[in-house]
């Protein structure tokens, strides 16, 4: 009801405004964007932190192809491409005359150097596997890049649109951590450490129409109430990803602001150690799945924002299958399954949550209450993020934890039995391999759908909700992405209504 009311308010307030102004963007103006985390360095090819991509991807650095806020793959530095009939050879026609911010030219040789660096033995790229499917790279002409893959890879193209595949200049790459140089619409101006990163319009951008803004400043404000106060006081124009959904609800009532309730790639899950007692028992996991009331999590912990999910796939992405009904909320069924599994009185377990991500604590509290109804007594413990990575993620010393998996197209993690869920299923691995090698869209949809069904059926983790995108901004900010189908705060087409 709350959500319905909010949507109605949002519709009446913003639709007419956007309809009038979407036609003629205005040039000029400065935009101040708040994001909670300061990036640890500004090189997206050397660090996995989402905060880096949110500042530099599509703004400073570009990739061969890019995605828009609907998740569609669009031309980037490649103006077009074609794939051979067997799906193994990608030929990209690159844009001619593209220059880096320092004047270096971009061409096929530069692209080749970047890809080889990412797949090389000394790589520190967080995702070398994106590139290691490449068998060889040829540059038959200055602006033609011909990539031959070892095998068909349905995700190769979307991977080339991610921050990890950013194309850096050959001489200007060395200082990318502190002084990034790219081909994007904005060039790096200054990083006041601890406070902000400033980007200014790049006049030599290959698309002379863009960008609209003169300057974009990213400010780092981690405290959720400080973000809201800064927006209300007029210090910032946009909160890229609001930390407290309840503030979004408040701000949406104010005519000066608007809230975009879109989808993101972040799947929030109750990660479960499938090798640990008693979670190695399918019936226990099924019982838990029956005891989760997702709508209550959305209402209590997320102020009504978010979409229930039943598997590890974003509703915003292609090939999505709605599996939320696999194990409907049913306490009797849950108790029965627990009894069948040999735990008629339930059991005790430890749920570890990293308070660095505030939602994990909120959602954890709701889950503790929900599981108590079938006799599962969860003890909730806070764990510092560095220890989470070490103990839970790398050493797998845990029973349950909550986290949002932010990467798009990441269902492949279930194919790795050493991943921290420790889920080991040959059936899943076969289905995933078939999905990757699917020759056409129909087969892709079939097999990616199948992978979603298998992990939903096996109740590998507690699949909770797809996190909302929830950017909040002043009413005059136009062209901001509603959905976040990839990790980005793309300002290329953002403009300010006068």
């Amino acid at each position: 009801m709350k959500k319905l009311l909010f949507i109605l308010i949002a519709l009446t307030l913003f639709l007419p405004v956007q309809a009038i102004s979407a036609s003629n963007p205005v040039k000029g103006g400065n935009l101040v964007v708040a994001q909670p985390a300061e990036p640890p360095g500004l090189d997206p090819t050397a660090n996995t932190a989402a905060a880096i991509d949110r500042v530099v991807w599509a703004n400073v650095f570009e990739t061969l192809v890019k995605v828009d806020d609907q998740g569609q793959v669009l031309p980037g530095l490649a103006k077009e491409w074609n794939v051979s009939a067997d799906g193994k050879i990608y030929t990209f026609s690159l844009r001619a005359g593209v220059k880096y911010h320092n004047g270096e030219p971009f061409n096929a040789e530069v692209a080749k150097w970047n890809l080889e660096r990412a797949m090389g033995p000394k790589t520190v790229n967080p995702h070398p596997e994106y590139f290691r499917v490449i068998e060889n790279i040829q540059t038959p002409a200055e602006n033609t890049l011909k990539i031959t893959l070892k095998d068909v890879d349905a995700l190769f193209l979307v991977h080339m649109a991610e921050g990890d595949a950013s194309l850096l200049p050959i001489t200007g790459y060395k200082d990318a951590k502190s002084h990034p140089i790219g081909t994007g619409p904005f060039k790096f101006a200054k990083w006041v450490r601890g406070d902000r990163v400033e980007l200014t319009r790049f006049d030599g951008y290959w698309n002379p129409e863009l960008p609209y803004l003169d300057k974009v400043t990213f400010r780092f404000i981690s405290d959720a109430s400080a973000q809201t106060a800064a927006l209300m006081a007029g210090d910032i124009d946009v909160i890229g990803w609001i930390g407290s959904p309840e503030s979004a609800l408040e701000l949406a009532k104010n005519k000066r602001f608007k809230v975009l309730d879109g989808a993101s790639t972040s799947d929030m899950i109750l990660s479960t150690n499938n090798k640990a007692e008693p979670f190695n028992n399918l019936k226990v996991r099924q019982a838990m799945a029956h005891a989760i009331d997702r709508q209550m999590i959305i209402d209590l912990a997320m102020s009504g924002f978010g979409t229930p999910i039943g598997s590890h796939w974003s509703p915003a992405a292609p090939y999505y299958v709605d599996m939320a009904g696999t194990y409907p909320y049913d306490l009797e069924k849950a108790k029965q399954l627990l009894a069948e599994a040999g735990y008629p009185g339930g059991f005790e377990a430890v749920l570890q949550v990293p308070p660095k991500y505030a939602y994990t604590v909120r959602v954890g509290e709701v889950l503790v209450d929900q599981f108590s109804k079938i006799g599962i007594r969860l003890k909730m413990e806070n764990i510092e993020w560095g220890q989470w990575i070490k103990r839970i993620f790398l050493n797998k010393e845990y029973q349950l934890t909550i986290i949002g998996h932010a990467e798009a197209w990441d269902i492949g993690i279930y194919a790795n039995p050493k991943y921290y869920f420790q889920y080991d299923s040959q059936e899943f691995r076969d289905a995933y391999a078939k999905a990757l090698k699917a020759p056409n869209e129909k087969e892709k949809a079939k097999w990616f759908g199948e992978t979603q069904r298998i992990i939903a059926r096996d109740a590998v983790n507690g699949f909770l909700i797809s996190s909302p995108s929830l950017p909040v901004m002043k009413a005059e900010v136009m062209g901001w992405w509603k959905n976040y189908p990839t990790i980005a705060l793309d300002c290329t087409k953002v403009w300010l209504k006068k």
């Binding site: 300061e38 640890p40 360095g41 050397a46 660090n47 996995t48 932190a49 000394k122 790589t123 520190v124 790229n125 967080p126 995702h127 070398p128 200082d175 951590k177 502190s178 006041v192 450490r193 601890g194 406070d195 902000r196 400010r219 780092f220 404000i221 981690s222 405290d223 109430s225 400080a226 106060a229 800064a230 209300m232 006081a233 007029g234 210090d235 660095k356 510092e384 993020w385 560095g386 220890q387 989470w388 990575i389 070490k390 103990r391 993620f393 790398l394 986290i403 998996h405």
Partner: protein, 314 residues
């Protein structure tokens, strides 16, 4: 005095050495190394090994410690892993925020607490004293972040007199920067003032009962002379001690208020560096803090000598 200085200097060096070993070992055994944090949920054994080699984390404890101390002694210091600038520069730039913030806060605290404390002591158990005590009790119970947010809502959101946070930088705008520190230092200062007011009051009450004060009264001196010239000086000794401790605490303890006002200060830097395992930054800030606390205590010692001629620095 010279002997005193030499002794202080030796203490400083020995202490810093001990601090350096402690902080290095603690961070060494802390679960989660920089490479693990950087690669996060994408870490694979291969990329971890590559990154550890690049950051020099694959070497032994002794080698890493020796390298660090070596870089400190040659005056270069280490580089921040995340920020890619010398830690020394980072500390200096952050000190330009936290230093004035702490000083402003202490000024607020002193300006509020001394007159109130003296007033309360002079009017012990009268209505004025009761009111002062009530408000200091309230101040002690108020969390900094709450007062910080309250001030933002009032002065920034409602009245629009201040910005809600941030720091323009001294070179960009001097008055803008000073203004940006006003609300946070007030929030910090008010709470410290509560402690100082109570301390000034009790210290003052004690001194006012001393024999020499009775003598002063008996001589027929005016009230102002007795209180402000004779009594106050002695009553200030415990106050100065606490003030010194608070100053040291403020240098690092401003973490919360720096987060509420998103000020690029030292507290937020060290907080963030611990979370991201930017170990060089954590180590050198801890060392710096230790040195700062020792220095402030040194100043406090000097102040005793000024306040009370019987104290000799030997």
């Amino acid at each position: 005095m010279t002997r005193y200085l030499v002794r202080k200097l030796i203490t400083l060096i020995v202490l810093l050495f001990l601090v350096s070993i402690t902080v290095f070992s603690v961070l060494f055994v802390l679960p989660g190394d920089p490479a693990e944090i950087i690669l996060g949920m994408n870490a694979t054994p291969e990329t971890l090994a590559n990154l550890r080699a690049e950051l020099g984390l694959d070497r032994s404890f002794i080698v890493q410690y020796a390298n660090w101390i070596g870089s400190l002694l040659t005056g270069r210091g280490s580089m921040s892993i995340n920020y890619d600038v010398p830690v020394y520069d980072l500390i200096l730039s952050r000190l330009a925020v936290t230093g004035p913030l702490a000083i402003f806060a202490i000024c607020f605290a002193v300006v509020i607490s001394l007159p109130l404390g003296i007033y309360a002591a002079r009017h012990q158990n009268q209505p004025g004293d009761v009111i002062v005590m009530f408000f200091t009790q309230l101040g002690l119970a108020t969390p900094e972040f709450w007062l910080g947010i309250l001030l933002i809502l009032l002065f920034a959101v409602k009245w629009g007199l201040f910005s809600a946070g941030g720091f323009p930088g001294w070179s960009v705008s001097f008055w803008g920067s000073a203004k940006a520190l006003l609300l946070p230092s007030f929030a910090l200062g008010v709470i410290r003032a509560s402690i100082l007011t109570r301390l000034t009051r009790s210290s003052m009450l004690e001194v006012l009962r001393e024999d020499y004060v009775r003598t002063a009264w008996a001589k027929g001196l005016r009230e102002r002379t007795v209180v402000y010239v004779h009594a106050l000086k002695n009553a200030l000794i415990p106050v100065v001690t606490i003030l010194g401790l608070q100053m040291g605490q403020l240098m690092a303890g401003a973490i919360i208020i720096e987060n509420v006002y998103y000020l690029p200060g030292l507290g937020r830097l060290v907080f963030q560096a611990i979370g991201q395992r930017d170990l060089p930054v954590v180590r050198e800030i801890v060392l710096f803090m230790a040195a700062a606390v020792i220095f402030v205590n040194f100043i406090v010692d000097l102040t005793y000598a000024v306040l009370d001629p019987r104290v000799r620095l030997t």
